[in-house]
Amino acid sequence: MNFSPVDWIIMIVYLSITVYIGIWVKRYVQNLSGYIVAGRKIKASLGIATFTATELGTVTFVYFGELGYVTGFSCFIIGILALIAYTTVGKTGFIIEKLREYGMMTIPQFYELRYNKNVRIVGGLILFVGGVLNMGIFLKFDGIFLSEVMGFGPQALGFIMTLMLIVVMSYTILGGMFSVVITDFMQYVVLSFAMLATTIIVLMEVDLTTISNAVTSGLGDGGVNPIVNDRFGWSFIIWILVTNVAAAALWQPGTSKALASESPEVAKKVFWMTGLTFAGRAMIPMFWGVAAFAYFGSGQDSASAMPMLLGELLPVGLLGLLVAGLLAASMSTYSSYVLAWSSVLTLDVISVFKKGGYSEKTTIRITQIISGLIGFFLLIFGLWYQIPETAFQYIFITGTMYTAGALGTVTAGLYWRKANNIGAMCALILGAVVPAGFLILENYSELLPGWMSFVTDVNVAGFLSFILAALGMIVGSLLTQKSNPAVIINQEEARYD
């Protein structure tokens, strides 16, 4: 048991304050736009805090720490790729600027504007399924982290998962995006301080020479060079770079922060500045993972090694602060993700079937019910599902289910006049088929004929889905130009808000 009474007090006080503020902020939600995009009142600093906090949950620390433990320094390339992707999107305004100008709340709204209602429904469903599967392992990894770092062991997993879920759901369902933004800010500040203190302590306890020697002797060239590492290589690097660009511009929980920004200019600034933090966001927990490899050697469970290291090294008080910060970070990630996916299913699928749509009050109520159902699903799925490959690759392949098709559909929709609804449908479906195939077939890889083995290589499957989606858009649109002429967006009538 690593957790002292002081750590417990810090954690309980901090979490109580967070939940109280999250619920109190509910008074600022006046309508649907207030609930989903915080009334589009978010300025740059708050936008950066909430964006970073959304993409920084306990699961992020666990999968980056796991990669550091398994692959050494070579996984640091992932941080560099994220930095390149997010800062490029921020500087150029690629996709996000236009979507913010049109006043969108969700990405599939654009599908209807540029293509038709059916594309919106199919796009919304794929986004919802990919998104919910993507966060399916969050609870489990959070549970692993907390049980190891606090010293309870694996038997406490189910209890910790249930408790976390109840706390998060309470304020997400009640407060919407305002609760998310304000609590994100607190969480970002506390967690950044805890990360700084933890990095200093890890550096003091496991010196750089020990780490360097452990990586050189234990992992060889693969621990330094991502090109020669078995888990990475060129296909991985290209796939992760493209996915990062797609996710930066189109991943609803993150993009919703741009859509909630005060203006397109603020949206670009938020992405550019947040992009600068993304290399550090990845490398800091990866470094803790590499330090765990140097400290324990190679015999530990890969996901548990880094949390075990922190449980051993951090002093009383700081452990409580780090756990509180990480729990809070998880809460901000859950709340943003749950809100994003429930809004997509409500606005882009369910409401589209109702002629004239539902009233704002009913729409918020439906969103709240779906949020609750997603929470229940997370609990069941997290306890049952066995993750293929590493957690990082699972997260990216489920994300690719949506981003591969969405990248082709939205990019062509904004920048190619010939893009039509048939091309969009082909892109969305082909982009989702390969990742979905991987998730299913990976469990039966020994039954597949040799020529199909590429489907069970996560890097190839991810890369291939972007190529198929792009081909689907181009070929589908060009072959059906006469029967399905492309819709040109009327700039004056296009605004949603």
């Binding site: 500040v189 990360m195 020479t209 360097s212 966001r281």
Partner: protein, 47 residues
């Protein structure tokens, strides 16, 4: 320490400093952003 590890260590140091510096700036400026939202007349109609 090999050259490869040295390069990664330097990059880690640079990006960690950027991460914590932006966090410090955002922590200070974010408070005034929140105050502005709380005082926004459009959002303060709690009828």
């Amino acid at each position: 320490m090999t050259d490869g590890i040295l390069v990664w260590m330097i990059l880690f140091g640079i990006f960690a400093i950027i991460f914590f510096s932006i966090a410090a700036i955002v922590a200070v400026k974010g408070v005034s952003d929140i105050k502005e939202i709380m005082n926004d007349p459009e959002l303060n109609n709690h009828d």
